[in-house]
Amino acid sequence: MLLIPCPWCGPRDEAEFGYGGQAGVAYPRDPGALTDEEWARYLFFRDNPEGPFEERWNHSAGCRRWFNLTRNTATNEITPISPSGDASPPGNVATGEVGTASASWDAATGGPR
């Protein structure tokens, strides 16, 4: 039973969390502009290293926040990415790419905002 450091609630048993796979795989800026292969890479291809791996977790039975951490897949050593007590929303949008993707969504949809 891993002990996972939720940036908000502190360390909790693994059973309280949902696993979100590799971190930093942002929704593509303009899916329509991608080739089938590029789209398939977004959908299906993920890294699978032995060693440190940046991944997403969701404290689903607690505060329901998503966050990132680094876990060594060989030893389960966990290194928090954003330290607990950080006042800003921590890990869930860890990489700048994701924010960019968010902005691009609006550009792509020409949505209301």
């Binding site: 942002a26 924010g99 792509a108 949809t109 949505g111 905002r113």
Partner: protein, 929 residues
């Protein structure tokens, strides 16, 4: 028969073994009581049928595995660890026990503990460590598997801090128990060491306790393993006979239980240390005649033990060693009924190994000792090993070790074992002979040196492979006495070093644990949560049978007197199609979505457009994963410009909320939307059938219910049966229908009011399924399986062409999702209108099955009898199905091929004339179950 030493005459306890009545004393184990009663043979070996006796005195015991018959049948319990109690009934085994055919009446549970320091083992090192840690104010858990503290101290006559060891241990334990933040767990075996210093222990609370056994799940900042050492046997011919015993075990029986294990004893020691001589002295004091001591340092080895049936050992053969191991010169035969074997000590490194610590072979100890803990510590297992478990050999060393271990020094500082105190002999694992078929390495598995030679002769070079080939080390004791021996003898046979060969992997559990214990209270009614609605008791009182949907209990159907399922469901279906039915629809997931960007979020997640929905209106929607496959469906109700109520399928409520949160938090944090589950805020009654308008009107006199005032796919707030309600005009049956939502607290009152109209038939999920299937409405998860697109379901209309993007859209442009041979949802009509297809049946085009591989076209997803159609029908996913309408296929039942005709998936009222009494062909009139 009892030859009990003075000072050990406790309360008499009566027990039965193999049908004979015996007496023991309080404080005995079954093993000590049997020895005191003179019982020598306690088991029969598993493959060779040889008599076996008691070999050890605690968890290392490989032989004395018995069946407990009363109070409750329990197979394969070590006689050396079971405390004797009055009325115990046990019998001997031959390798295999018998599980009880009946349920275990005892209670089991689990609990959690958190501490700064967990000390495993309450021997001298463990007690010293726990005391030192507790004195710093730390939160301490001390867990030990014996009934009394002190580890092996009560087995010996040693003194600590000027007091007899057993007395000292009791005093320290008492001091610890008095502290508020220290928990002392006796009879508690730590069985597993898992990630991030999570350890699992099993507490045996006793036959009289309310809870017989308890699992402790312990999260410790730091773990001190003070798990001691097991004495190692030596292998010689006949080393399995009753009467051959570890020297430490015989010493324990003499000192702890006051039981001399025999009358005339020979001691065989490798001379690794002098504990065999201590044992001999203690046994002599207990009245045992020590007739010879064969010390390998003097070149004297026991070459054979010779026995006599059930009585076991009669004669010990001692040889004088010449030059070289195999060459024995001269021999002496000694009459004896007890042979004490002392081959050195194996530190108990099981938990350290489980923690990921590296083991190191120590040449001087002839054993594997904890090596570098760095890897374990790095992986979040802050662990330190103390005392005999890391190779300490004297009491003083163990005590000092414990003190150090509790201090906050880096754990790796204890990685180097202390220097031996001198008097070391050489390691003798095996006294070889020409015939090694009675040289036993693993007593429980009947594995001999001859077997090990056969394994290496077959080319095996790894101990892991030898273990699997011979089964050495795979018994209940997991090789506590045989593990190091196996490695050493295989190394000797192969002519390689033990260090390079290593050990097999240590795995949990350290001692056997029953499944009942692991199940705890999660069994029977508490095995899994049962979720019920506010109306559950009414359903139960009215004879409903229930269907499990996720963790929910949903009414399946309500059989009337004399009705079977088929009759009940046909009756319920007719009621909805011809009059009015009512169903408890409370289990649907409900999510309140609010904020200025709520419509934008829904536009991005649903395949169809939600932002155009008017306040007061309702729209059916489908969600796909990014791969374009249908994930969930339900209705979206617009409550306000910035507020929606989304419903989900019963089983997907949590997943859909998680899905929304995931996109909001990880991709679109700029969207101002908040999602809140309100599934149990509302109780819902579905009212369906041509009479439902009149029923609603009678319950809600102030609500205008005519089709113009209250059109399809709109909602109204109203008072229904005197209760504030939100009424939605949606249908999952094709009939005129409403869903009435009230507070969960009023759910039962509403349901009763609906029933009190006398015009309504309660119906369950089976009828709901039949009615929706007649209309061709899929159930997500039944008619879909994660490989089905909206277009595959014939619902291309639900996929927006105008939105620039939504989750899943890009995937609809993949070549694969446009293949003409994709599986489409179609209807099937069996040619025999009474033939009910099995759900899951494969569909083929041919009338006879060819040789495999059989080309399969799809499978049946739903299959029912229809009252409205007057026949059976099915839904199926069929390759290119929409182009096969009218084709004849065959459904394979496992025995026969049933001919069917492919039809459009909407089989009932395809024009949609029934949903409000007027013809209407627009789609979307639906809602999930």
């Amino acid at each position: 028969m009892t030859r009990r030493r003075a000072g050990h005459e406790g309360q008499v306890l009566r027990f039965t073994f193999d049908g004979r009545a015996y007496e023991g004393r309080r404080g005995d184990t079954l093993a000590s009581a049997l020895l005191a009663a003179g019982v020598r043979r306690v088991a029969t070996s598993v493959t060779l049928g040889r008599p076996r006796g008691i070999f050890g005195a605690w968890t290392e015991e490989p032989n004395a595995v018995v069946q407990i018959e009363r109070p409750f049948p329990e197979p394969m319990v070590q006689a050396t660890t079971i405390p004797l109690y009055d009325g115990l009934v046990a019998s001997s085994l031959s390798g295999q026990g018998r599980l009880s055919p009946g349920p275990d009446p005892a209670r089991y549970d689990a609990t959690h503990a958190h501490c700064d320091v967990l000390v495993v083992g309450a021997g001298p090192a463990g007690l010293a460590a726990a005391r030192a840690a507790a004195r710093t104010g730390a939160r301490v858990v001390l867990a030990d598997d014996r009934p009394e503290p002190g580890g092996t101290l009560p087995d010996t006559a040693e003194t600590v801090e000027g007091r007899p060891g057993a007395e000292w241990a009791l005093a320290v334990a008492a001091e610890l128990r008095a502290l508020p933040d220290v928990r002392v767990l006796s009879r508690t075996s730590v069985i597993g060491y898992y990630d991030h210093n999570y350890l699992v222990a099993v507490e045996r609370r006793g036959e009289d306790a309310v809870t017989r056994e308890r699992v402790w799940r312990i999260r410790a900042r730091r773990v001190v393993l003070a798990t001691g050492a097991h004495e190692r046997p030596i292998v010689f011919s006949g080393n399995d006979l009753p009467g051959v015993m570890l020297a430490s075990a015989a010493r324990a029986y003499a000192n702890r239980y006051g039981v001399p294990a025999g009358r005339r004893a020979v001691v065989f020691t490798t001379g690794m240390d002098d504990t065999a001589y201590d044992a001999a002295r203690d046994l002599a004091e207990a009245g045992v005649e020590i007739v010879d001591i064969a010390d390998a340092r003097e070149g004297r080895l026991v070459t054979a033990a010779i026995g006599d049936g059930d009585e076991g050992l009669r004669t010990v053969v001692i040889g004088e060693r010449g030059e070289g191991l195999g060459a024995m010169t001269g021999s002496r035969e000694v009459e004896a009924d007890l042979l004490l074997v002392a081959g050195g000590w194996n530190p108990v490194v099981h938990l350290f190994g489980q923690a990921g610590g590296e083991l190191r072979y120590d040449e001087r100890l002839g054993a594997f000792v904890p090596g570098d803990a760095a890897r374990a510590v790095q992986a979040g297992r802050n662990v330190v090993v103390a005392g005999a478990a890391r190779g300490a050999t004297t009491l003083a060393e163990c005590l000092a070790d414990g003190e150090t271990a509790a201090a906050s020094t880096p754990p790796t500082s204890l990685a180097t074992p202390p220097s031996p105190s001198g008097g070391w002999g050489e390691h003798v694992w095996l006294v070889p002979a020409d015939d090694e078929t009675h040289h036993f390495v693993d007593l429980q598995r009947d594995v001999t040196v001859a077997d090990l030679r056969r394994a290496t002769g077959a080319g095996l070079r790894s101990v892991e492979h030898v273990k699997r080939y011979t089964t050495a080390g795979t018994a209940h004791d997991q090789g506590k006495t045989s593990g190091t021996l196996t490695s050493a003898i295989v190394a000797q046979v192969l002519g390689t070093g033990i260090a390079g060969l290593g050990t097999t992997t240590f795995r949990a559990p350290y001692v056997p644990v029953s499944f009942a214990t692991l199940a705890g209270r999660d069994r029977g009614a508490l095995h899994d949560p049962v979720r019920v609605t506010a109306m559950h008791d009414w359903h139960a009182e009215h004879g409903a049978l229930f269907e499990n949907v996720g963790q929910w209990k949903r009414p399946w159907y309500y059989p009337g007197p004399g009705e079977d399922m088929e009759a009940a469901v046909l009756r319920e279906c007719r009621a909805v199609r011809e009059a009015t039915g009512a169903m408890d629809a409370s289990t649907l997931g409900k999510i309140d979505v609010q904020g200025p960007d709520a419509a934008e979020l829904l536009d991005r997640l649903y395949t169809n457009l939600m932002s155009s929905l008017k306040v007061g209106a309702i729209r059916y929607g489908v969600m796909c994963r990014a791969d374009g496959m249908v994930f969930d469906d339900g209705t979206v109700i617009r409550l306000a410009p910035d507020r929606f109520l989304v419903t989900t399928t019963t089983g997907n409520a949590a997943a859909v909320l998680d899905w929304m949160e995931e996109w909001l938090q990880t991709e679109w944090p700029g969207l101002r939307v908040r999602c809140t589950s309100v599934t149990e805020q509302w109780a819902t009654v579905a009212l369906a059938g041509p009479g439902s308008r009149a029923v609603l009107a009678s319950l809600a006199p102030d609500l205008a219910v005519d089709a113009e005032s209250f059109p399809f796919m709109t909602w109204r707030d109203a008072e229904v049966a005197g209760i504030e309600a939100r009424v939605c005009r949606i249908s999952f049956s094709g009939e005129l229908a409403y869903e009435i939502n009230v507070s969960w607290w009023h759910g039962l009152a509403l349901w009763k009011a609906v029933q009190a109209t006398g015009a309504v038939t309660p119906y369950g999920t089976e009828t709901m399924h039949v009615l929706r299937a007649e209309k061709g409405y899929p159930i997500i998860g039944q008619d879909t399986d994660g490989t089905v697109t909206p277009a595959d379901l014939g619902m291309g209309w639900v996929v927006s062409k105008s939105k620039p993007d939504f989750v899943g859209k890009r995937s609809f442009a993949r070549a694969d999702t446009a293949r003409p041979d994709r599986r489409h949802l179609v209807g099937l009509l069996p040619e025999d209108p009474d033939a009910l297809l099995p759900e899951g049946a494969q569909l083929v085009a041919c009338e006879r099955l060819p040789e495999p591989p059989v080309p399969m076209l799809g499978h049946v997803t739903s299959s029912y009898r229809s009252a409205a159609l007057g026949r059976t029908f099915a839904l199926a996913l069929v390759s290119g199905g929409r182009d096969r309408v009218g084709e004849r296929l065959h459904a394979y039942t496992g025995e026969t091929l049933i001919p069917v005709t492919v039809t459009h998936h909407v089989l009932y009222d395809p024009e949609g004339t029934r949903r409000d009494g007027r013809p209407d062909t627009s789609e979307g009139a639906r809602h999930d179950g």
